[in-house]
Protein backbone atom coordinates (compact mmCIF):
# COMPACT_ATOMS: atom_id res chain seq x y z
CA UNK A 1 0.00 0.00 0.00
CA UNK A 2 1.50 3.34 -1.04
CA UNK A 3 1.25 5.16 2.26
CA UNK A 4 2.61 8.54 1.39
CA UNK A 5 4.36 10.79 3.88
CA UNK A 6 1.49 13.28 3.71
CA UNK A 7 -0.03 11.32 6.56
CA UNK A 8 2.78 11.90 9.07
CA UNK A 9 2.23 15.22 10.86
CA UNK A 10 5.36 17.35 11.19
CA UNK A 11 4.00 20.42 13.03
CA UNK A 12 7.24 22.32 12.47
CA UNK A 13 7.16 26.07 12.97
CA UNK A 14 8.27 27.92 9.80
CA UNK A 15 8.85 31.42 8.39
CA UNK A 16 6.47 32.36 5.59
CA UNK A 17 6.39 35.17 3.04
CA UNK A 18 2.80 35.93 2.14
CA UNK A 19 0.73 38.56 0.42
CA UNK A 20 -2.62 39.86 1.60
CA UNK A 21 -4.95 41.09 -1.07
CA UNK A 22 -8.54 40.94 -2.18
CA UNK A 23 -8.86 37.67 -4.01
CA UNK A 24 -11.74 35.31 -4.45
CA UNK A 25 -9.65 32.31 -3.33
CA UNK A 26 -8.67 33.91 -0.02
CA UNK A 27 -7.04 37.12 1.08
CA UNK A 28 -3.82 35.58 2.34
CA UNK A 29 -1.55 33.85 -0.16
CA UNK A 30 1.80 32.36 0.90
CA UNK A 31 4.63 32.83 -1.61
CA UNK A 32 7.54 31.03 0.02
CA UNK A 33 8.50 29.41 3.31
CA UNK A 34 11.70 28.54 5.13
CA UNK A 35 12.12 25.63 7.54
CA UNK A 36 14.25 25.64 10.71
CA UNK A 37 17.02 23.82 8.83
CA UNK A 38 17.21 26.74 6.38
CA UNK A 39 15.55 25.01 3.42
CA UNK A 40 13.59 27.50 1.31
CA UNK A 41 10.54 26.43 -0.68
CA UNK A 42 9.11 28.67 -3.40
CA UNK A 43 5.39 28.09 -3.76
CA UNK A 44 4.34 27.72 -7.37
CA UNK A 45 0.66 26.86 -6.84
CA UNK A 46 -1.90 26.90 -4.07
CA UNK A 47 -4.19 23.88 -4.29
CA UNK A 48 -6.83 24.61 -1.67
CA UNK A 49 -7.24 26.94 1.26
CA UNK A 50 -9.64 25.68 3.87
CA UNK A 51 -10.44 26.50 7.47
CA UNK A 52 -10.38 23.96 10.27
CA UNK A 53 -12.30 24.57 13.44
CA UNK A 54 -11.42 23.46 16.92
CA UNK A 55 -14.09 25.03 19.07
CA UNK A 56 -13.98 28.76 18.36
CA UNK A 57 -10.35 28.57 17.22
CA UNK A 58 -9.79 28.58 13.48
CA UNK A 59 -6.68 27.31 11.74
CA UNK A 60 -6.28 27.93 8.02
CA UNK A 61 -4.78 25.11 6.03
CA UNK A 62 -2.97 25.92 2.76
CA UNK A 63 -2.25 22.99 0.48
CA UNK A 64 0.60 24.17 -1.75
CA UNK A 65 3.23 22.86 -4.12
CA UNK A 66 6.66 23.92 -5.31
CA UNK A 67 6.30 21.87 -8.49
CA UNK A 68 8.11 18.80 -7.18
CA UNK A 69 6.36 18.04 -3.91
CA UNK A 70 3.14 18.95 -2.11
CA UNK A 71 3.06 20.62 1.29
CA UNK A 72 0.45 21.60 3.79
CA UNK A 73 1.21 24.70 5.78
CA UNK A 74 -1.16 26.11 8.39
CA UNK A 75 -1.75 29.50 9.92
CA UNK A 76 -2.91 29.45 13.53
CA UNK A 77 -5.33 32.37 13.82
CA UNK A 78 -4.73 32.75 17.58
CA UNK A 79 -0.94 32.69 17.76
CA UNK A 80 -0.41 33.82 14.12
CA UNK A 81 2.28 31.17 13.83
CA UNK A 82 2.82 29.26 10.60
CA UNK A 83 3.48 25.53 10.69
CA UNK A 84 4.59 22.95 8.15
CA UNK A 85 2.13 20.13 8.76
CA UNK A 86 2.79 17.66 5.96
CA UNK A 87 5.22 17.13 3.14
CA UNK A 88 4.24 14.82 0.30
CA UNK A 89 6.31 12.27 -1.56
CA UNK A 90 8.18 13.42 -4.64
CA UNK A 91 6.79 11.92 -7.82
CA UNK A 92 8.89 11.75 -10.97
Amino acid sequence: MNQNTYQTPLHEIIDVDATFSRNILGHCRPIAFRTKSGREVQISEIGLIHPRYDGLKTTFAFDVTDGSSDYRITLDSESLNWYLEFEGDRYA
Binding site: P51, D54, Y91
Partner: protein
Protein backbone atom coordinates in the same frame (compact mmCIF):
# COMPACT_ATOMS: atom_id res chain seq x y z
CA UNK B 1 -59.70 8.07 -19.76
CA UNK B 2 -55.99 8.63 -18.93
CA UNK B 3 -55.15 11.77 -17.02
CA UNK B 4 -53.55 14.46 -19.22
CA UNK B 5 -50.08 15.15 -17.88
CA UNK B 6 -48.56 18.54 -18.63
CA UNK B 7 -44.76 18.50 -18.53
CA UNK B 8 -43.35 21.42 -16.46
CA UNK B 9 -40.53 23.65 -17.81
CA UNK B 10 -36.90 22.55 -17.42
CA UNK B 11 -36.29 24.31 -14.11
CA UNK B 12 -34.21 21.70 -12.31
CA UNK B 13 -30.40 21.81 -12.34
CA UNK B 14 -28.70 18.78 -10.80
CA UNK B 15 -25.09 19.47 -9.78
CA UNK B 16 -22.81 16.53 -9.03
CA UNK B 17 -19.09 16.82 -8.27
CA UNK B 18 -17.03 14.28 -10.22
CA UNK B 19 -15.26 11.61 -8.11
CA UNK B 20 -15.63 14.20 -5.40
CA UNK B 21 -13.21 13.12 -2.67
CA UNK B 22 -10.48 12.04 -5.08
CA UNK B 23 -10.82 15.24 -7.11
CA UNK B 24 -10.61 17.37 -3.95
CA UNK B 25 -7.44 15.48 -2.98
CA UNK B 26 -6.01 16.17 -6.44
CA UNK B 27 -7.07 19.81 -6.14
CA UNK B 28 -5.20 20.07 -2.82
CA UNK B 29 -2.13 18.26 -4.01
CA UNK B 30 -1.17 19.17 -7.57
CA UNK B 31 1.47 16.40 -7.64
CA UNK B 32 -1.33 13.81 -7.55
CA UNK B 33 -3.08 15.18 -10.64
CA UNK B 34 -3.11 12.77 -13.53
CA UNK B 35 -2.23 9.87 -11.19
CA UNK B 36 -4.39 7.04 -9.85
CA UNK B 37 -5.59 8.05 -6.39
CA UNK B 38 -7.85 6.16 -4.00
CA UNK B 39 -9.49 7.58 -0.89
CA UNK B 40 -10.07 5.35 2.12
CA UNK B 41 -11.30 5.97 5.64
CA UNK B 42 -8.22 4.34 7.12
CA UNK B 43 -4.78 3.60 5.70
CA UNK B 44 -4.77 -0.12 6.42
CA UNK B 45 -4.25 -2.96 3.89
CA UNK B 46 -7.85 -4.14 3.87
CA UNK B 47 -9.68 -0.82 3.94
CA UNK B 48 -12.56 -0.06 1.62
CA UNK B 49 -12.06 2.45 -1.22
CA UNK B 50 -14.71 5.14 -0.92
CA UNK B 51 -13.59 7.23 -3.91
CA UNK B 52 -11.22 6.77 -6.83
CA UNK B 53 -9.82 9.31 -9.27
CA UNK B 54 -10.74 8.97 -12.95
CA UNK B 55 -7.19 7.77 -13.63
CA UNK B 56 -7.66 4.97 -11.09
CA UNK B 57 -11.10 4.10 -12.47
CA UNK B 58 -9.62 3.84 -15.96
CA UNK B 59 -7.22 1.18 -14.62
CA UNK B 60 -10.08 -0.87 -13.15
CA UNK B 61 -10.19 0.42 -9.57
CA UNK B 62 -13.76 0.62 -8.34
CA UNK B 63 -15.45 2.26 -5.38
CA UNK B 64 -16.17 -0.36 -2.71
CA UNK B 65 -13.09 -2.44 -3.57
CA UNK B 66 -10.70 -3.50 -0.80
CA UNK B 67 -7.34 -1.72 -0.99
CA UNK B 68 -5.49 -5.05 -1.17
CA UNK B 69 -7.53 -5.98 -4.25
CA UNK B 70 -7.05 -2.52 -5.82
CA UNK B 71 -3.27 -2.61 -5.28
CA UNK B 72 -3.13 -5.94 -7.13
CA UNK B 73 -4.79 -4.30 -10.17
CA UNK B 74 -2.92 -1.03 -9.89
CA UNK B 75 0.40 -1.27 -7.96
CA UNK B 76 1.03 2.48 -8.37
CA UNK B 77 -2.25 3.44 -6.73
CA UNK B 78 -1.75 6.26 -4.23
CA UNK B 79 -3.88 6.10 -1.10
CA UNK B 80 -5.06 9.09 0.88
CA UNK B 81 -7.12 9.14 4.04
CA UNK B 82 -10.36 11.11 4.18
CA UNK B 83 -10.19 14.57 5.68
CA UNK B 84 -13.74 15.63 6.57
CA UNK B 85 -12.74 19.28 7.13
CA UNK B 86 -11.85 19.94 3.53
CA UNK B 87 -14.74 17.93 2.10
CA UNK B 88 -17.19 19.87 4.28
CA UNK B 89 -15.51 23.12 3.17
CA UNK B 90 -16.01 22.23 -0.50
CA UNK B 91 -19.61 21.17 0.23
CA UNK B 92 -20.31 24.55 1.87
CA UNK B 93 -18.71 26.42 -1.04
CA UNK B 94 -20.76 24.45 -3.57
CA UNK B 95 -23.94 25.11 -1.60
CA UNK B 96 -23.16 28.84 -1.45
CA UNK B 97 -22.62 28.97 -5.23
CA UNK B 98 -25.89 27.11 -5.84
CA UNK B 99 -27.83 29.39 -3.51
CA UNK B 100 -26.83 32.38 -5.65
CA UNK B 101 -29.20 31.06 -8.32
CA UNK B 102 -32.36 30.18 -6.42
CA UNK B 103 -33.94 30.25 -2.98
CA UNK B 104 -34.74 26.58 -3.42
CA UNK B 105 -31.55 24.52 -3.14
CA UNK B 106 -31.49 21.02 -1.68
CA UNK B 107 -28.22 19.21 -1.05
CA UNK B 108 -28.83 15.52 -1.72
CA UNK B 109 -25.47 14.47 -0.27
CA UNK B 110 -22.04 15.93 0.44
CA UNK B 111 -21.22 16.17 -3.28
CA UNK B 112 -24.51 16.72 -5.08
CA UNK B 113 -27.44 19.05 -4.92
CA UNK B 114 -30.49 20.34 -6.76
CA UNK B 115 -31.31 23.91 -7.80
CA UNK B 116 -35.00 24.52 -8.45
CA UNK B 117 -35.11 27.57 -10.70
CA UNK B 118 -38.86 27.99 -10.28
CA UNK B 119 -37.94 29.99 -7.18
CA UNK B 120 -35.14 31.94 -8.86
CA UNK B 121 -35.21 35.73 -9.29
CA UNK B 122 -36.57 36.84 -12.68
CA UNK B 123 -33.19 37.93 -14.10
CA UNK B 124 -31.79 34.43 -13.44
CA UNK B 125 -34.91 32.53 -14.47
CA UNK B 126 -34.87 34.16 -17.89
CA UNK B 127 -31.30 33.09 -18.65
CA UNK B 128 -30.48 30.03 -20.74
CA UNK B 129 -30.10 26.87 -18.64
CA UNK B 130 -26.89 25.94 -20.50
CA UNK B 131 -25.43 29.36 -19.76
CA UNK B 132 -26.20 28.88 -16.05
CA UNK B 133 -24.64 25.41 -16.13
CA UNK B 134 -21.43 26.71 -17.72
CA UNK B 135 -21.32 29.58 -15.23
CA UNK B 136 -21.62 27.22 -12.22
CA UNK B 137 -18.82 25.05 -13.62
CA UNK B 138 -16.59 28.10 -14.04
CA UNK B 139 -17.40 29.44 -10.57
CA UNK B 140 -16.45 26.09 -9.07
CA UNK B 141 -13.02 26.45 -10.68
CA UNK B 142 -12.65 30.12 -9.72
CA UNK B 143 -13.89 29.85 -6.15
CA UNK B 144 -12.60 26.42 -5.08
CA UNK B 145 -9.83 25.45 -7.46
CA UNK B 146 -8.91 24.93 -11.09
CA UNK B 147 -9.08 21.11 -10.92
CA UNK B 148 -12.68 20.99 -9.70
CA UNK B 149 -15.20 19.60 -12.16
CA UNK B 150 -18.88 18.82 -11.96
CA UNK B 151 -21.67 17.35 -14.01
CA UNK B 152 -24.72 19.48 -14.58
CA UNK B 153 -28.01 17.89 -15.57
CA UNK B 154 -30.99 19.96 -16.69
CA UNK B 155 -34.56 18.67 -16.86
CA UNK B 156 -38.06 19.25 -15.57
CA UNK B 157 -37.70 17.00 -12.51
CA UNK B 158 -34.96 15.67 -10.23
CA UNK B 159 -35.00 12.16 -11.70
CA UNK B 160 -34.40 13.25 -15.30
CA UNK B 161 -31.96 15.98 -14.24
CA UNK B 162 -29.86 13.42 -12.33
CA UNK B 163 -29.96 11.14 -15.35
CA UNK B 164 -28.88 14.03 -17.60
CA UNK B 165 -25.99 14.74 -15.23
CA UNK B 166 -24.78 11.15 -15.54
CA UNK B 167 -24.76 11.04 -19.34
CA UNK B 168 -21.28 12.42 -19.95
CA UNK B 169 -18.94 12.01 -17.01
CA UNK B 170 -16.69 13.77 -16.12
CA UNK B 171 -17.53 17.44 -16.58
CA UNK B 172 -20.76 16.87 -18.51
CA UNK B 173 -23.57 19.32 -19.18
CA UNK B 174 -26.71 17.81 -20.66
CA UNK B 175 -30.38 18.56 -20.87
CA UNK B 176 -33.28 16.14 -21.22
CA UNK B 177 -36.32 17.62 -22.88
CA UNK B 178 -39.56 16.14 -24.19
CA UNK B 179 -37.96 16.22 -27.66
CA UNK B 180 -34.71 14.35 -26.93
CA UNK B 181 -35.88 12.04 -24.11
CA UNK B 182 -36.73 9.06 -26.34
CA UNK B 183 -33.43 9.34 -28.22
CA UNK B 184 -31.49 9.40 -24.92
CA UNK B 185 -33.51 6.55 -23.42
CA UNK B 186 -32.84 4.45 -26.53
CA UNK B 187 -29.11 4.51 -25.73
CA UNK B 188 -29.48 3.39 -22.11
CA UNK B 189 -30.08 0.20 -20.14
CA UNK B 190 -32.75 -0.03 -17.45
CA UNK B 191 -30.14 -0.05 -14.68
CA UNK B 192 -28.69 3.21 -16.04
CA UNK B 193 -31.81 4.95 -14.74
CA UNK B 194 -31.43 6.34 -11.19
CA UNK B 195 -33.39 4.18 -8.76
CA UNK B 196 -33.47 1.06 -10.92
CA UNK B 197 -31.40 -1.69 -9.34
CA UNK B 198 -31.19 -5.32 -10.46
CA UNK B 199 -34.21 -6.32 -8.35
CA UNK B 200 -36.42 -3.63 -9.85
CA UNK B 201 -35.06 -4.57 -13.27
CA UNK B 202 -36.17 -8.18 -12.67
CA UNK B 203 -39.68 -6.99 -11.74
CA UNK B 204 -39.85 -4.92 -14.92
CA UNK B 205 -38.53 -7.82 -17.01
CA UNK B 206 -41.27 -10.04 -15.54
CA UNK B 207 -43.93 -7.90 -17.24
CA UNK B 208 -42.06 -7.64 -20.54
CA UNK B 209 -40.24 -4.33 -19.94
CA UNK B 210 -36.60 -4.70 -20.97
CA UNK B 211 -35.58 -1.19 -22.07
CA UNK B 212 -36.05 2.37 -20.78
CA UNK B 213 -38.21 3.12 -23.86
CA UNK B 214 -40.56 0.23 -22.98
CA UNK B 215 -40.60 1.51 -19.40
CA UNK B 216 -41.56 4.97 -20.67
CA UNK B 217 -44.29 3.52 -22.87
CA UNK B 218 -45.76 1.26 -20.16
CA UNK B 219 -49.23 2.30 -19.10
CA UNK B 220 -49.83 3.55 -15.59
CA UNK B 221 -51.93 0.61 -14.43
CA UNK B 222 -49.23 -1.91 -15.45
CA UNK B 223 -46.72 -0.06 -13.32
CA UNK B 224 -49.13 0.25 -10.38
CA UNK B 225 -50.67 -3.23 -10.40
CA UNK B 226 -47.99 -5.46 -11.89
CA UNK B 227 -44.60 -3.88 -11.28
CA UNK B 228 -44.64 -1.85 -8.08
CA UNK B 229 -47.94 -3.07 -6.62
CA UNK B 230 -48.15 0.22 -4.76
CA UNK B 231 -48.41 3.99 -5.17
CA UNK B 232 -44.80 3.86 -6.45
CA UNK B 233 -46.23 2.82 -9.83
CA UNK B 234 -48.02 6.18 -10.13
CA UNK B 235 -44.78 7.92 -9.10
CA UNK B 236 -42.71 6.11 -11.74
CA UNK B 237 -45.29 6.95 -14.41
CA UNK B 238 -45.02 10.64 -13.55
CA UNK B 239 -41.26 10.62 -12.91
CA UNK B 240 -40.60 9.26 -16.42
CA UNK B 241 -42.73 12.04 -17.91
CA UNK B 242 -40.80 14.81 -16.18
CA UNK B 243 -43.29 15.47 -13.38
CA UNK B 244 -41.72 16.17 -9.99
CA UNK B 245 -42.54 13.51 -7.42
CA UNK B 246 -39.31 13.50 -5.42
CA UNK B 247 -39.38 16.91 -3.79
CA UNK B 248 -40.81 15.83 -0.43
CA UNK B 249 -38.48 16.18 2.54
CA UNK B 250 -38.66 13.90 5.55
CA UNK B 251 -38.06 14.46 9.24
CA UNK B 252 -35.19 12.77 11.04
CA UNK B 253 -36.38 9.30 11.98
CA UNK B 254 -33.20 7.95 13.55
CA UNK B 255 -29.68 8.96 14.52
CA UNK B 256 -26.87 6.45 14.32
CA UNK B 257 -23.16 5.85 14.22
CA UNK B 258 -21.05 2.79 13.54
CA UNK B 259 -17.40 1.86 13.83
CA UNK B 260 -15.24 -0.85 12.28
CA UNK B 261 -13.11 -1.97 15.21
CA UNK B 262 -9.42 -1.29 14.97
CA UNK B 263 -8.23 -4.78 15.85
CA UNK B 264 -9.29 -8.42 15.97
CA UNK B 265 -8.27 -9.04 19.55
CA UNK B 266 -9.95 -6.21 21.41
CA UNK B 267 -11.22 -7.15 24.86
CA UNK B 268 -14.83 -6.51 25.86
CA UNK B 269 -13.64 -3.52 27.95
CA UNK B 270 -11.84 -1.98 24.96
CA UNK B 271 -14.90 -2.48 22.76
CA UNK B 272 -17.01 -1.05 25.56
CA UNK B 273 -14.91 2.15 25.51
CA UNK B 274 -15.51 2.50 21.77
CA UNK B 275 -19.23 1.95 22.35
CA UNK B 276 -19.26 4.79 24.88
CA UNK B 277 -17.48 6.95 22.31
CA UNK B 278 -20.18 6.17 19.74
CA UNK B 279 -22.81 6.98 22.39
CA UNK B 280 -21.19 10.41 22.88
CA UNK B 281 -21.22 11.04 19.12
CA UNK B 282 -24.87 10.10 18.59
CA UNK B 283 -25.81 12.00 21.76
CA UNK B 284 -24.21 15.15 20.43
CA UNK B 285 -25.95 14.76 17.07
CA UNK B 286 -29.28 14.23 18.80
CA UNK B 287 -28.89 17.27 21.03
CA UNK B 288 -27.67 19.41 18.12
CA UNK B 289 -31.15 18.90 16.61
CA UNK B 290 -32.87 19.47 19.99
CA UNK B 291 -34.27 15.96 19.91
CA UNK B 292 -34.84 13.20 22.42
CA UNK B 293 -35.00 9.47 21.72
CA UNK B 294 -36.98 6.69 23.31
CA UNK B 295 -35.61 3.75 21.37
CA UNK B 296 -32.05 2.47 21.25
CA UNK B 297 -30.67 -0.28 19.04
CA UNK B 298 -27.17 -1.75 19.37
CA UNK B 299 -25.92 -4.01 16.62
CA UNK B 300 -22.73 -5.84 15.75
CA UNK B 301 -21.16 -7.87 12.96
CA UNK B 302 -18.80 -10.62 14.02
CA UNK B 303 -15.83 -11.88 12.01
CA UNK B 304 -17.98 -14.43 10.18
CA UNK B 305 -20.32 -11.59 9.10
CA UNK B 306 -22.96 -12.76 11.56
CA UNK B 307 -25.35 -9.98 12.50
CA UNK B 308 -26.52 -9.61 16.11
CA UNK B 309 -28.60 -6.91 17.71
CA UNK B 310 -30.65 -5.93 20.73
CA UNK B 311 -33.00 -3.02 21.20
CA UNK B 312 -35.19 -1.49 23.84
CA UNK B 313 -37.76 1.25 24.25
CA UNK B 314 -37.12 3.32 27.37
CA UNK B 315 -39.96 4.48 29.58
CA UNK B 316 -38.74 8.06 29.30
CA UNK B 317 -37.16 9.96 26.45
CA UNK B 318 -33.41 10.57 26.82
CA UNK B 319 -30.63 12.49 25.09
CA UNK B 320 -27.74 12.68 27.56
CA UNK B 321 -24.48 10.85 26.88
CA UNK B 322 -24.84 9.20 30.28
CA UNK B 323 -28.23 7.66 29.46
CA UNK B 324 -27.28 6.60 25.93
CA UNK B 325 -24.03 4.99 27.09
CA UNK B 326 -25.78 3.24 30.01
CA UNK B 327 -28.49 1.76 27.79
CA UNK B 328 -26.05 0.87 25.01
CA UNK B 329 -23.78 -1.00 27.42
CA UNK B 330 -26.77 -2.78 28.90
CA UNK B 331 -27.69 -4.03 25.42
CA UNK B 332 -24.11 -4.78 24.41
CA UNK B 333 -23.54 -7.12 27.36
CA UNK B 334 -26.19 -9.41 25.80
CA UNK B 335 -24.33 -9.57 22.47
CA UNK B 336 -21.56 -12.05 21.63
CA UNK B 337 -17.92 -10.98 21.51
CA UNK B 338 -15.52 -10.50 19.63
CA UNK B 339 -17.03 -8.22 17.00
CA UNK B 340 -15.83 -6.58 13.79
CA UNK B 341 -18.31 -3.71 13.49
CA UNK B 342 -20.37 -2.11 16.21
CA UNK B 343 -23.14 0.46 15.87
CA UNK B 344 -25.74 2.39 17.84
CA UNK B 345 -29.00 3.72 16.41
CA UNK B 346 -31.43 5.90 18.32
CA UNK B 347 -35.03 5.92 17.14
CA UNK B 348 -38.50 6.97 18.18
CA UNK B 349 -37.27 10.56 18.17
CA UNK B 350 -39.31 13.39 19.61
CA UNK B 351 -38.68 17.10 20.16
CA UNK B 352 -39.48 17.09 23.89
CA UNK B 353 -38.41 15.13 26.95
CA UNK B 354 -41.97 14.15 27.95
CA UNK B 355 -40.90 13.16 31.42
CA UNK B 356 -42.98 12.47 34.47
CA UNK B 357 -41.75 13.89 37.74
CA UNK B 358 -40.16 11.19 39.82
CA UNK B 359 -38.22 10.73 43.05
CA UNK B 360 -34.97 10.81 41.06
CA UNK B 361 -35.83 14.09 39.36
CA UNK B 362 -32.96 16.02 40.96
CA UNK B 363 -30.40 13.47 39.76
CA UNK B 364 -31.82 13.43 36.22
CA UNK B 365 -31.76 17.23 36.05
CA UNK B 366 -28.13 17.21 37.17
CA UNK B 367 -27.18 14.71 34.44
CA UNK B 368 -28.85 16.93 31.81
CA UNK B 369 -27.06 20.01 33.16
CA UNK B 370 -23.68 18.28 33.10
CA UNK B 371 -24.32 17.18 29.51
CA UNK B 372 -25.33 20.69 28.42
CA UNK B 373 -22.22 22.15 30.10
CA UNK B 374 -20.04 19.53 28.38
CA UNK B 375 -21.46 20.50 24.96
CA UNK B 376 -20.87 24.20 25.66
CA UNK B 377 -17.25 23.61 26.68
CA UNK B 378 -16.57 21.45 23.62
CA UNK B 379 -18.15 23.99 21.28
CA UNK B 380 -15.99 26.74 22.77
CA UNK B 381 -12.69 24.94 23.22
CA UNK B 382 -12.83 22.17 20.63
CA UNK B 383 -13.90 18.58 20.14
CA UNK B 384 -13.57 16.24 23.11
CA UNK B 385 -11.86 18.72 25.37
CA UNK B 386 -14.12 17.22 28.01
CA UNK B 387 -15.77 13.81 27.79
CA UNK B 388 -16.69 10.72 29.74
CA UNK B 389 -13.68 8.95 31.31
CA UNK B 390 -15.02 5.65 30.00
CA UNK B 391 -14.24 6.74 26.42
CA UNK B 392 -10.58 7.52 27.12
CA UNK B 393 -8.16 6.01 24.62
CA UNK B 394 -10.59 5.98 21.70
CA UNK B 395 -8.87 8.57 19.49
CA UNK B 396 -9.08 6.11 16.58
CA UNK B 397 -12.88 6.59 16.46
CA UNK B 398 -12.68 9.63 14.21
CA UNK B 399 -15.39 11.57 12.46
CA UNK B 400 -15.85 10.13 8.99
CA UNK B 401 -17.56 11.33 5.89
CA UNK B 402 -21.34 11.24 6.21
CA UNK B 403 -22.73 9.59 3.09
CA UNK B 404 -26.30 10.41 2.21
CA UNK B 405 -27.66 12.87 4.73
CA UNK B 406 -25.93 16.22 5.11
CA UNK B 407 -27.92 17.03 8.24
CA UNK B 408 -25.01 16.91 10.63
CA UNK B 409 -22.31 18.63 8.57
CA UNK B 410 -22.87 21.88 10.46
CA UNK B 411 -22.46 20.10 13.79
CA UNK B 412 -19.33 18.07 13.18
CA UNK B 413 -17.22 18.63 16.26
CA UNK B 414 -15.63 15.20 16.48
Amino acid sequence: MPELIRRPPNDILYIDLNSCFATIEQQCRPMLRGRPVAITNRLVPNSCIIAASYEAKALGVKVGMRSREASAICPDLIYAETEPDKFIFVHEKLKRIMKDYSASVVMKSIDEGVIDLSEAPKHIYERSRFELGHEIKQRLKDEIGCYMRCNVGIASNRFLAKLAGELHKPDGLDEITADNQREIFASLKLTDLPGINIRMEARLNAVGIFTPIQFLDADEMTLVKLVCKSIDGHKWYRRLRGIEVDSATSDIKSVGRQFVLDGRNLSREETDARLVRLAEDVGYRLRSKSLYARGIYVWTYDFQDGYNHHQLIAKEAFNSDYDIARLARQLYTRLPCPVRIIGITLYKLQPYADRQLCLEQGRKDRIDSVCAAEDKINLRFGARKIHCADSLGTEQVKCKIPFGSTRYLDHSIN
